[in-house]
């Protein structure tokens, strides 16, 4: 199988590392060769963060380049737009509709562009946008946005529900398991 590419993008501190851990575990269990590339250090302090998940028969590069992503999973709308050029021609964006102002917008040096979801659609991207923050809160914690997004992403894969559940159990601390499973279901069924 040709290598498939999933990018997970967001704002430092939003929980993208758990999402990539979960996806990596799932894909390993399915027998693929997998590479996951993360961001650590300074970029994590509220900056734009990106994680690359690649899987297939044999994966070489640890990173995803422009025009290569089959999926962009985004915790925040501006970040989806920032990484849009990395999406393949027929790639799919799954994004939370949450907006977080970056510091240049907060200080008034820049504007947060309006109506980004529609603009991405107009540019020819397939976009599945939903209010993941509200769903996460419904599940019991605003920190569960990552599992809401993973639930939504699961709709685009052929992996069994059991496989997803198994990976959630392997990656999430037991204390938060039920909450995260609920968040996953809410994302999937929204």
């Amino acid at each position: 199988m040709k290598t498939k590419n999933v990018m997970i993008v967001g704002v430092g501190g939003q929980g993208s590392l758990l999402a990539s851990k979960l996806l990596g575990h799932l894909l390993m269990e399915q027998g693929y060769d997998v590479k996951v590339s993360e961001v650590h250090g300074m970029s994590q302090r509220g900056g734009s963060v990106v994680t690359y998940v690649r899987y297939g028969d044999k994966v070489a590069s640890p990173v995803i380049d422009k025009g290569e992503a089959d999926f962009i999973v985004s915790f925040e709308v501006l970040e989806a737009a920032r990484w849009l050029s990395y999406l393949k021609a027929d790639g799919q964006i799954v994004t939370s509709t949450q907006q977080i102002d970056p510091m240049p917008v907060i200080t008034g040096a820049a504007q947060y562009p309006e109506d980004l979801v529609n603009k991405m659609l107009a540019a020819g991207a397939k976009v599945d946008a939903l209010d993941c923050l509200a769903l996460a809160e419904q599940a019991g914690s605003s920190k569960a946005v990552n599992l809401v997004l993973m639930g939504r992403l699961s709709k685009y894969f052929d992996f069994s529900d059991e496989a997803w559940q198994k990976s959630i159990e392997a990656c999430v601390p037991a204390k938060f398991l039920e909450l995260n499973k609920k968040a996953f279901e809410l994302g999937k069924n929204a």
């Binding site: 704002v11 430092g12 990596g24 575990h25 390993m28 060769d33 997998v34 590479k35 996951v36 590339s37 993360e38 961001v39 650590h40 250090g41 300074m42 970029s43 994590q44 302090r45 509220g46 900056g47 734009s48 690359y52 994966v59 070489a60 590069s61 640890p62 990173v63 380049d65 422009k66 025009g67 290569e68 501006l78 970040e79 737009a81 920032r82 849009l84 050029s85 990395y86 393949k88 021609a89 977080i100 102002d101 970056p102 510091m103 240049p104 917008v105 907060i106 200080t107 008034g108 040096a109 820049a110 504007q111 947060y112 562009p113 980004l116 603009k119 991405m120 540019a123 991207a125 605003s142």
Partner: protein
């Protein structure tokens, strides 16, 4: 068992399996997780040392005593540890010693983009360079065998993409080794001129033997794929080459980057029409090929700067370049910022307000340079703030000393701030040093240090008293302020700058991200009281923005530190804490 493992964790696994017994390191992105992962193995003694030089010397002591040892650091850390490195190359080792150095091309989290391979050449030591996690594990083990066979420490070079990407590894059980007996050997281990003169020929002869070893070692391998193009590459560049060209070009994949296998390179070059070197940063392998008289290309088109990628390799070497869609809108950048509730914010606001010249240092607080605070004038390397303020004030005297401060974090102060402080105490400049004590090494992800009272495993440890230390050095003016208290910060800074004596201000409050730190209820804005003056926007708090012309607090980010509340002249900020 097959598992997905971070490159740094795979290095740790390899060290563990090879029977490593003692680890001493200083944290630095992208190297930190090697040592953190080692701390999870109960069979290994693991510590954070105050700096990389101390760490390397500590690891050397352990290998001298007969136990396999390790020391890990980022590229700039090796500058600090360069002193022991160059002479450990002469003494050699008793049990094996491995030194990991992690480069950061693209400067994701670094102040420069230096290429650590120069150190292997300069110190005349072997250097291995893995390209994924499986190699990281295997090379860490191989490094110990080379170290003991050739009697030298071995450098294991990582880079951000190998250190911080996960790929599949297979683990094996640990090999327990008996300690090598320690034997006194003055001629080998006491590096005074008479002995060092006799060790240098050994170093040169060892390099020749290592070069022979490199010729046939499985660390280097040839993957033939036709005779048109031959690419010499290593590390993550190898992965990009394979991504673009698959098996359609021939590749000499180097796992041992120093010394180079010259016969193998000549043989490979003779089999292909066009020879190309693909390497990030400096043209080290390329220049070596040129020195061998080979016709080679590489940096004539490939950049000297930043990271490579598959598209970049394709663009320069004639592969398929992928492109994607873009929007017409300008996408505002999202740089890293000080977190909501960061204790550094109040202090930097005060420095900005007082128009201080701020000589900065390395840590989260370097973000004090970012707008709107913009309260930093210089950042160079670990500890430079304190040394530089001394020189700055010696140069300008009265002109600068009443408005110039040095800022340095607690961990950076322990790393290399103390010697600078000694210079101020000794050579008497009227300098004001602010130690930003957030009780942790923050930027690298919360590592303990000698001022926190805990060791790497979180167990109680020795605790250095900053106030007593500064006083013992001869500073009579040492005071502590809470950076959440803007008035106290302002008074302390004004008073210490005004006084005609060197002084230390310790700005003390634990990092807001520490698990034990209790947060107050988030604040909210009474929009009737908010006069839209934007005074609260001057602190660059990511939780505060203007919504519909009024200040707005993001309750999911706010930790209730109250700094914004102190800036509001209209009492518009209120706690969301419920009464009773």
């Amino acid at each position: 068992m097959k598992q997905l493992m971070l490159g740094n964790a795979a290095v740790a696994r390899g060290l563990y399996e090879a029977g490593c017994c003692v680890v001493s390191s200083y944290p630095g992105t992208p190297s930190t997780e090697i040592t953190e992962e080692m701390a999870k193995f109960n069979e290994v003694y693991v510590e954070w040392a105050p700096n990389e030089k101390v760490a390397m010397e500590s690891a050397f002591g352990a290998c001298l005593a007969g136990k396999r040892s390790f020391c890990g650091m980022k590229h700039v850390g090796l500058n600090v540890a360069a002193d022991p490195l160059f002479t450990v190359a002469y003494t050699g080792v008793n049990a094996g010693m491995v030194i990991a150095v992690a480069d950061d091309p693209g400067m994701h989290s670094s102040q420069n983009e230096q290429d650590s391979r120069h150190y292997a050449i300069a110190a005349k030591l072997p250097m291995l360079e893995p390209a994924d996690s499986a190699e990281a594990l295997a090379f860490a083990k191989a490094a110990y065998d080379i170290s003991e066979e050739f009697d030298c420490p071995v450098l294991l070079k990582m880079c951000t993409r190998v250190a911080h990407s996960q790929s599949v590894v297979e683990t094996a059980p640990r090999q327990e080794l008996p300690a090598k007996p320690y034997e006194k050997n003055i001629a080998k281990y006491v590096m005074m001129p008479g002995n060092a003169i006799r060790r240098h020929p050994f170093v040169e002869e060892r390099m020749a033997r290592l070069a022979e070893f490199a010729e046939t070692s499985p660390l280097n391998r040839v993957e033939m794929g036709g005779t048109e193009v031959g690419i010499i590459t290593s590390s993550t560049s190898y992965q990009y080459v394979k991504e673009v060209f698959g098996d359609s070009v021939s590749v000499l994949k180097l796992g041992m980057i120093h010394p180079l296998p010259q016969k193998l390179i000549r043989d490979f070059a003779s089999k292909v029409k066009k020879l190309v070197v693909v390497e990030e940063l400096d043209p080290i392998v390329e220049n070596a090929c040129r020195a061998m008289g080979l016709a080679v290309t590489g940096k004539d088109t490939l950049p000297l700067l930043g990271e490579f990628s598959q598209n970049l390799v394709a663009q320069h070497l004639g592969g398929e370049v992928h492109t994607g869609k873009t929007l017409d809108d300008a996408i505002p950048p999202r740089p890293p910022v000080m977190c909501a509730g960061c204790p550094h914010r109040g202090l930097f606001y005060t420095l900005s307000k007082n128009k201080c010249t701020v000589l900065g240092d390395i840590g989260c607080y370097t973000l004090g340079a970012v707008a709107p605070l913009a309260a930093m004038d210089m950042t160079l390397c670990m500890g430079a703030s304190i040394s530089a303020i001394h020189g700055f004030n010696k140069a300008l005297g009265a002109e600068s000393q009443g408005k110039t401060v040095a800022v340095i974090g607690d961990s950076t102060f322990m790393h290399s701030g103390m010697t600078g402080l000694a210079n101020i105490a000794y050579n008497q400049s009227n300098s004001t040093v602010i130690i930003l004590d957030n009780s942790i090494t923050g930027m690298t992800g919360h590592q303990q240090n000698p001022t926190t009272g805990y060791n790497i495993k979180g167990d109680p440890a020795g605790k250095i008293d900053l106030e007593a230390l500064c006083r013992a050095m001869g500073f009579e003016r040492v005071r502590v302020v809470d950076p959440y208290d803007l008035k106290a910060c302002d008074t302390a800074i004004k008073e210490e700058l005004a006084v005609d004596a060197p002084s230390v201000i310790i700005s003390r409050r634990p990092c807001a991200l520490l698990k034990y730190v209790k947060h107050s209820a988030p604040l909210m804005v009474d929009t009737d009281k908010c006069k839209s003056c934007k005074a609260c926007m001057k602190i660059g708090c990511p939780a505060i923005s203007m919504k519909n012309g009024k200040a707005h607090v993001d309750a999911t980010l706010c930790v209730g530190c109250g700094v914004c509340e102190q800036l509001c002249a209209f009492g518009a900020f209120q706690s969301t804490k419920k009464e009773g």
